[in-house]
Symmetry: C2
């Protein structure tokens, strides 16, 4: 007998038929003798509708009320999933964030889980009852509802798995695992059997939508074995579970590849400031106002301008922040003293990721040569121990992905 | 300065524009110096959708999960209404049933409120904050969400008004008050300025949909002054509030009418059992099985059959229960021993109501004569101290209402 947490995303609970499918999958685990906690997201589309209502009614909204409104979506699916389980003879009850309680800090709309008392859940397990937990939500010490940010149900699931010492946290989604890159773009992308926490964290942070980065961080910290798998692959009553991708410790992976995956993000924009006076404190004069406006800057490059007295500075940021950033920089122009500002929203970030890079130099070089051979210019570069990211013109995204996927030997055999 | 509770039903919060309208009406009361608690229903249609999902996923559902699902609708409107108030400069916060808490018994899906601690709400009033309370919901002592049954937000509002000793409980709805009868049928129906608790309770119980009967019962018990008025009559920012109908104690009404209103209900069915053996215990053999199947019987008439040895028995019940009742009676036929069973779903109940009846005989007679003059047969009669109800063929409903409205002098001047 094992204890497992199963998490189902919005597309997996999108309607009653799919909720029944979820129940059948849970039943399979219960019938196999497991203790099961289920974490559910809102029906797909619901959260967007709720967010749209909040934005429609209030310009600068109180995030405590935002949380009260948007948390309702998971409440509905938790109740319906518990009912679907009861309907097929499985003892089950729903748990909302405040009922367990999942205690978070007070950073409404992107709260962090602080602790999860497990007495109530343990009592349920003893009764042979499946706990169906509303994902994405928690509660502050003083009883206000919080939410954990987009994709927060992944974090709920991993945190619960850590709290109840689950053997595994299965994240059911609409793809059957983690791929070497987006298979909609690179047809020869391969599903990975295993991936390390570190790589998964980078993949998720750099554009792969399969898991919320914070959930991976938490899994890594608490050594929760996470499995990404599909809700839609096999018939739900099939006893044969198709394996997904296991996210595990590095030492559980025998054969390390140099590069494990290639991520991309189109949610990027670039701003170049030409001829900024090259003096101490200039970076602060630029990035201070942006930080005050809660605009995150990602990659930064600074070049000395030809005249030797000024500098050209390029940085990237989220595309949704571009307009606001231009406004902030325009207002701070007097202090920063730049000659020209050049925004570019038609850029993409492509990243190669692999723990194998630690011991093998040359990944960055291979990446640059591969892109150069296809005539793709690199705008900005950023590296860390296990990844290299480059900014390119957006229109080259697919070409770059395919070329890199081949160059790093990731293509599936035809 | 007064303290008031304002309740807005589903059509009053049906979309963002209407929620803004609600906020404007609340602002008017706050600007007038009042302490305000607002109770909101779910957006119209939402509860039906949630109930349909529950019915779709589970045949004999766990009502604790039903409650968790359907309570989400009011959570959304409470948050949105608080935001709409903040947006126009009014301090406000949402309160869910479990946050106050509104403690109920464990009769899920039709729970009864047991107590409402007011410390949190009082603290909010002191801060000048409007409390926006999710109607229809409560919580059990052990932390499960409950709901109060259809129309339960009326009960939430009255219970809160009693708990915080509000001067008035304003029930905003899509009509501008309580009418002598349904104005869609009788064009000369008049809006009542005042009505007694007892009359309002009978009207609500006998078919008028303007208030939930239980809320009237509670208002009567705690002497809460209830006002029924429209969310849609005047522009929300108008300082002139159109008066609705006040539901008050009998001694607050100076001029008593013999009859105050005429209610009708098409949610009726009739069952006649012919030639039931006339022996002791026969009623129990009929109504016992129905009670066990949770089918409520309303009016009952028993006649001695021509042969003197058997009896004919007619009773009425809710139309939605008719099919089930026939099945139950068929199964119990051996024990009851009746010759024939005649169901009739095409019936309506028409009731005249007035506290004036207590001191004036002859209301029933006037009613029977009026209906007879129009050629309307009376099936079953039931009376109480302040009402007379008759069952008639459904097709005569409008004719009966108009005739009675005139006969009891209720017609508005033309």
């Amino acid at each position: 007998m094992a204890r497992i947490v199963m998490k189902f995303g919005g597309t997996s609970v999108a309607d009653l038929d799919r909720i029944r499918n979820v129940a059948a999958r849970v039943k399979r685990e219960v019938d196999a003798g497991n203790e099961v906690a289920v974490v559910v997201s809102a029906m797909s589309g619901t959260t967007n509708q709720l967010v749209a209502w909040v934005n429609g009614i209030s310009k600068f909204f109180d995030e405590r009320e935002y949380d009260a409104v948007v948390a309702s979506g998971e409440q509905v699916t938790a109740g319906l999933t518990a009912l679907a389980l009861q309907q097929i003879g499985i003892k089950a009850r729903s748990w909302l964030g405040w009922q367990i309680p999942i205690i978070t800090d007070e950073t409404h709309s992107k709260a962090r889980i602080q602790r999860i008392p497990t007495e109530a859940l343990e009592a349920g397990f003893k009764k042979g009852e499946v706990a169906v937990i509303a994902g994405f939500q928690g509660v502050t010490e003083d009883g206000r509802i919080t939410t954990l940010g987009r994709g927060g149900s992944d974090t709920s699931a991993v945190a619960l798995a850590a709290a109840v010492s689950a053997e595994r946290c299965d994240i059911y989604t609409d793809v059957d695992g983690v791929y070497t890159t987006d298979p909609r773009i690179v047809t020869r992308a391969r599903k990975l059997d295993r991936i390390t926490y570190e790589e998964m964290f980078e993949l998720a942070s750099l554009g792969a939508k399969v898991l919320q980065p914070r959930s991976v961080e938490m899994a890594m910290k608490h050594r929760v074995r996470v499995q990404v798998l599909s809700s839609f692959d096999a018939p739900p009553d099939s006893t044969q579970i198709l394996p997904g991708t296991l996210v595990v410790d590095e030492d559980e992976i025998l054969e390390q590849h140099l590069v494990s995956g290639i991520a991309y993000s189109r949610d990027e924009a670039k701003i170049t400031l030409l001829k900024v006076a090259d003096r101490p404190g200039v970076a602060a004069s630029i990035f201070g106002p942006l930080a005050n406006a809660a605009i995150n800057v990602d990659m930064i490059v600074q070049n000395v301008a030809p005249d030797g007295k000024s500098t050209d500075l390029t940085f990237t940021l989220s595309r949704t922040d571009l307009e606001r950033a231009l406004k902030v920089l325009d207002e701070a122009k007097g202090e920063i003293q730049y000659e020209q500002i050049i925004p570019d929203a038609a850029v993409a970030k492509v990243s190669v990721i692999g723990v194998g890079m630690r011991s093998h130099a040359g990944v960055a070089l291979t990446m640059f040569e591969t892109l150069a051979a296809k005539g793709i210019n690199i705008g900005v570069i950023s590296t860390s121990e296990i990844k290299v990211s480059v900014l390119i013109a957006e229109e080259y995204t697919e070409l770059a992905l395919r070329a890199l996927h081949s160059a790093f030997g990731l293509d599936a055999a035809v």
